[in-house]
Structures are given as structure tokens and as C-alpha cells.
């Protein structure tokens, strides 16, 4: 299994990468960590004429705290760096937890945030985490730079809002609410999840046990990260306890549209989504502030 021949160029800057991509007339692929693209090249599922290597583009690196209490994270940030970053652990612990679930150590050393997001595998952890965190994604192309909410970025199986000539440059993650949970079920550590749930719970300032709103996102249960809106509606205004978590789990089932494949039936994945929604909320519960 060897890739078909291609031409390779290492971009030294974002401007160079944008120009190389534009010059490729749709026959060009961007190479970041390569942990999804290179298997597809090796299996000849994709046969680009040109690969533009982004690994030398400094503008795509770095994790910077922002004045709003959030983070600006460069698209080239490796999963291992995301999981280990003290700033991410403090300001967006859900994202650090999600990064620890991606692949194996060797995959996390090389794979990137931007690569995972642009590839848009519906069972991937980081896209779901970014939707749960209400992140804003930034893309640059010949027509300039634009910001795309993560909630509008994922359009379907391996399909995103990025135009063919745009490069995903990073994500702004707002300060995370203290109530959060992240759970997934995979056959082996490092496998893509059969199903998973990322949860962020915001409690009311006057009554910390009451949920003001929650963002629940399932992955592996549809063609993209899916908001579990039935469960979110049930939680709004409710007091979060074990019974509420179980009822929210039951309400999550109808929002799923899971694939039916050799790894698990659709019914099984829908069942997992209900159980995992409950477990993610039970993780969030002790993290809610007692008094504000």
C-alpha cells in the first residue's frame, strides 16, 4: 500500500500555504499531522496531485489565553500538547479530556486539532468537544479570514463549511463553565468511539443546583457531532440530580441517527447515547459550584 505519486511542497508561512492551495486548482491536499490523510493516501482513497505540508507554518502554532478567559488554539496544536497544556486544563478541561481520548500516544504526538476538525470524522472527539464548548473556528483563504461557529462547521460525513481554497487556522474556545463531563465507549483504548457524549452544564447564579442551560453533544451517533436538544430542553431550569440525569439520558435517544455497521448496531449506539448522556451529567454534577 503506497500512495500514488504526488508533488510535495513545504509552506513556510500561511500566505505561502494559501497561495500553494489556490495554485492547485482543487488537486491539492493540505498535510498537517497526517494521521487521517496519510492512511487515505496509502489506500489510494485520495490521490491529490500536490501535498502542501503545513508543519512549518508558525502562524498555526500555539495555545494563547485570551482576555475573555478563553483560549486561542492554533490549528497545528498536537493532541498531546492539548492534553498536557496547563492553560487548556484550567480554562477548557473538557477539551483536554477529549484530547486524551484521541487515538494512541503515537497518534496524539503527531495528530493536530486542525486536522481532526477539518477531517470531520463523525466519531472523532475534538469536533464534538468544540461544539459543546461553543468554539469559534477561524479560516483563511484568498478572500480573507472568516470566523465560523463550530456549531455550523460540521455539515455531514467528512464534510465541513470550509471552502476548497480555505485553510483552518485555529479555534477560539470561550471560558468553560465548571460543570462538564466527557465519556465515550470504544472497543479498545485508542479506537474511534462507538458513541460518546460531551456535556457542559451552566448552573443558575442564584441557585447553583438548578441548570440554566446545558450543551450536550453526541459523537459516533450520527453523520456529525449532534446536539442532543431533547435532553438539553429537559435540563433547562431543572435541578440536576441522578434522576434528572437519567431522564435526560432517555431524552437523548430520539436525537441520535446512528450508523449501523460491523462495530455496532444503530440500536446499540442509541442505547449507548442514553447511558453516556446520563454518565456525562453525573460527571458534571459534583463539578457544579455549590454557591456563587
Amino acid at each position: 500500500m503506497k500512495p500514488a505519486p504526488f508533488r510535495y511542497a513545504r509552506a513556510g508561512s500561511l500566505a505561502e500555504a494559501t497561495a500553494l492551495l489556490a495554485a492547485g486548482h482543487g488537486e491539492t491536499k493540505l498535510l498537517a499531522g497526517g494521521q487521517s490523510l496519510v492512511p487515505m493516501l496509502n489506500m489510494r482513497l485520495v490521490r491529490p496531485a500536490v501535498l502542501v505540508d503545513l508543519n512549518g507554518v508558525r502562524e498555526l502554532e500555539g495555545i494563547e489565553p485570551t482576555p475573555d478567559g478563553g483560549l486561542q488554539i492554533g490549528a497545528l496544536t498536537r493532541h498531546a500538547a492539548l492534553a498536557a497544556s496547563p492553560a487548556v486544563r484550567e480554562r477548557a478541561p473538557l477539551l483536554a479530556a477529549a484530547a486524551r481520548h484521541v487515538g494512541h500516544a503515537a497518534i496524539r504526538n503527531q495528530g493536530t486539532l486542525g486536522g481532526s476538525v477539518a477531517h470531520a470524522d463523525p466519531a472523532a472527539e475534538l469536533p464534538a468537544a468544540l461544539v459543546a464548548l461553543d468554539a469559534q473556528l477561524r479560516a483563511t483563504g484568498p478572500r480573507g479570514t472568516r470566523v465560523i461557529p463550530a456549531s455550523e462547521f460540521f455539515r455531514g460525513l467528512l464534510t465541513t463549511a470550509l471552502e476548497a481554497d480555505e485553510i483552518l487556522t485555529g479555534a477560539h474556545v470561550p471560558a468553560q463553565e465548571p460543570g462538564w463531563g466527557f465519556v465515550e465507549i470504544a472497543r479498545r483504548p485508542g479506537d474511534f468511539a462507538l458513541a460518546g457524549v460531551a456535556a457542559v452544564v451552566c448552573s443558575a447564579s442564584d441557585s447553583p443546583s438548578r441548570v440554566e442551560h446545558a450543551r450536550l453533544v453526541g459523537f459516533g451517533i450520527g453523520d456529525r457531532p449532534l446536539r442532543l436538544t431533547g435532553a438539553e430542553r429537559l435540563l433547562a431550569g431543572a435541578a440536576l440530580d441522578a434522576q434528572t440525569a437519567a431522564r435526560a439520558g432517555a431524552a437523548a435517544g430520539p436525537d441520535c441517527d446512528p450508523p449501523d455497521d460491523v462495530h455496532g448496531s444503530a440500536d446499540y449506539r442509541r442505547h449507548l447515547a442514553t447511558v453516556l448522556t446520563e454518565r456525562a451529567l453525573l460527571q458534571a454534577l459534583p463539578r457544579l459550584p455549590r454557591r456563587r
Binding site: A4, P5, R7, Y8, Q35, N55, H104, A106, Q110
Partner: protein, 167 residues
């Protein structure tokens, strides 16, 4: 702006020595090591990042060498199983693999050694569960995992004893 090329010159360090070659852009690091440099200790199993047999260290971190192109490694430092093996004898970890019979056919062994070398560099005393998780990306088709886990535990304990003795 660099022009996209089908063949490129690349200069890197492999097992401590400088290497300079002209490579096809599609040449994987795994094939580069095996075919161009004759370093056949790095094994090639699945060629799509699943089996872990081709794991090497790049700048000290474990990576799948089937998922990197040699042309990407300009200026990088690569360490293979050959580079982790002392000129005379075996490393502590390799000795532990031998003592515990942590191999059957041996195909996965180089990847296992590279992966657990990184584990033991990061954590001096990993738990059994941490060892199992660390090698979860390295498939042993003989399913000889029990002895591999035992070998890593023995190597970690041996190092702890050695550092205790020298302290």
C-alpha cells in the same frame, strides 16, 4: 514560494548520524529507513497507522513511520530500534523482554520496545493499566501481551533498583 516537487533532497539525523538523500515525495519514513538506509529493524505491518509495528522516535516522541513522509523530516532526529540497542549487548528494556519471553514471532517487538521506551522516559513507574494503555496501539498478532506487560514492569522495577543503588 517553494515549487511542489516529486523528488526532494532531505537531510536528517538517524540514530545519531547525519543522513542526506534524494527521495521521492511519496516515500514513507518506514520505507526510507528499510529500503534506503537498510535499517530493517523497523517493521512494516498495516501501512495505515493501525498496527504500531513501524513505531520510531522523531525528536524523542513516538510516531508511526508509515504515516510520515521522509521528505517531511528535514532537520529532524530519528531513532529506530537499532538506535535504542547498545553497541554491545542489550538495553535494560530489551533484557527484560528476553528474560520474560515477551515475544513469540517477534514481528511487533521493535514497535513495542520503541513505544515502551517513550513510556518509561515519561513515567518511571507506570501501573499495569498504564502499560496496557500505552501498548494498546501496538498489535501483537500472537496475543503475547501478558509477557510484554510483565517485561515492561520488570524493566521499570530494574531501573528503580539501579537508581536506588547508585543514589
Amino acid at each position: 514560494m517553494p515549487a511542489p516537487r516529486e523528488r526532494l533532497a532531505v537531510r536528517l539525523t538517524v540514530n545519531g548520524g547525519p543522513v542526506e538523500r534524494v527521495v521521492e515525495a511519496r516515500r514513507s519514513l518506514a520505507d526510507f529507513l528499510r529500503e534506503d538506509l537498510g535499517l530493517t529493524g523497523t517493521h512494516v505491518g498495516c501501512e495505515h497507522g493501525v498496527c504500531g509495528a513501524c513505531t520510531v522516535l522523531v525528536d524523542g516522541r513516538s510516531v508511526r513511520s508509515c504515516l510520515l513522509f521522509a521528505a517531511q523530516l528535514e532537520g529532524a532526529s530519528v531513532t529506530t530500534i537499532e538506535g535504542l540497542t547498545p553497541a554491545e549487548g542489550l538495553s535494560t528494556l530489551q533484557e527484560a523482554f528476553r528474560a520474560c519471553h515477551a515475544m513469540q514471532c517477534g514481528f511487533c517487538t521493535p514497535g513495542m520496545i520503541v513505544t515502551t521506551t517513550e513510556l518509561l522516559a515519561d513515567q518511571s513507574a507506570p501501573s499495569t493499566e498504564e502499560i496496557r494503555e500505552a501498548i494498546s496501539g501496538n498489535l501483537c498478532m500472537c496475543t503475547g501481551y501478558v509477557n510484554i506487560v510483565r517485561a515492561v514492569e520488570q524493566a521499570a522495577a530494574g531501573r528503580a533498583a539501579a537508581s536506588g543503588a547508585s543514589a
